[in-house]
Amino acid sequence: MKSAVIVFPGINRERDMARALKLVSGREPAMLWHADTELPAGTDLVVIPGGFSYGDYLRCGAIAARAPIMDAVRAFAQNGGLVLAVCNGFQIACESGLLPGVLMRNTQLRFICRDVYLRVERSDTPFTRGYNAGQVIRVPVAHGEGNYVADGPTIARLEGEGRVLFRYSSPDGIINPNWNHNGAMNGIAGIINDHGNVVGMMPHPENHVEAVMGRTDGRGLFAGLVDHFKQAA
């Protein structure tokens, strides 16, 4: 799996992401700068990592979404290329029009940095095939603006088409407001676009991929992607 990680000024999770990609795929990702205008030939997966691009000025992800490299990322996605957008990456993907909706300030106004439980809603996508539908995984979050909001018709469409991939849940997979730390609509932690090739999620699977991190729950996402490309080859 040939991956590329996009780096914007103020991004700070790109090395965690690169480490996870190298660990699971055995291949160093290409690191691309915001001012680059094209992706390396043969790129399978583009990852937009977490951080605080452009200091979160204006709106989280707003300025990164208009950076030169994003034209190449949009074209890649339009051609069916797989894009994984995590945390600030999710915010950037929403701002750039790759995904619907927006990430608003957490309802209780605090920056939250801790592990959360996610229920994996589907296992039939390249991003979630490493899990079983209904499986609960534990991964960290670190965000102040992770509260997913979209208008009624958009939420109805996401739910109706099964495009919510991850939902904040209890350790037993129960969805209720007590386990929804940021107030996201319907407990939405991660979604997929209508063509099934762009995923955005607030939690950080890349931070739970090896024993030294305490847990390996995030590894299934990367392992699933690697399997997807192996099978395609």
Binding site: L58, R59, R66, T107, N147, V149
Partner: protein
């Protein structure tokens, strides 16, 4: 010769504004009475060269649509002030 403009960006009605709610609570605890609700927005003061008002309005609309506002959740208002 130039013009001044102000673009005001506000949250659409129905979008929850946690910051506005916090400010609302703080005003209550300060004893400011009669405040029913607070919604927080943004103001951009922009200077534009030349005197072509129609051109300036088009540029400001483009700025608001492309960057200043996220029209999923926000409305904007453009005023050319001088």
């Amino acid at each position: 010769m130039g013009m001044k403009a102000r673009v005001t960006v506000t949250l659409k009605s129905g979008i929850l504004d946690p910051q506005g709610k916090a400010i609302e609570g703080a005003l209550g605890s300060l004893g400011v009475s009669g405040v029913v609700s607070v919604r927080q927005g943004k103001v951009f003061d922009i200077e534009i060269e030349g005197a072509d008002r129609a051109g300036a309005e088009a540029a400001l609309k483009s700025a608001a649509e492309k960057l200043l506002a996220n029209t999923v959740i926000e409305n904007y208002r453009i005023e050319l002030t001088g």
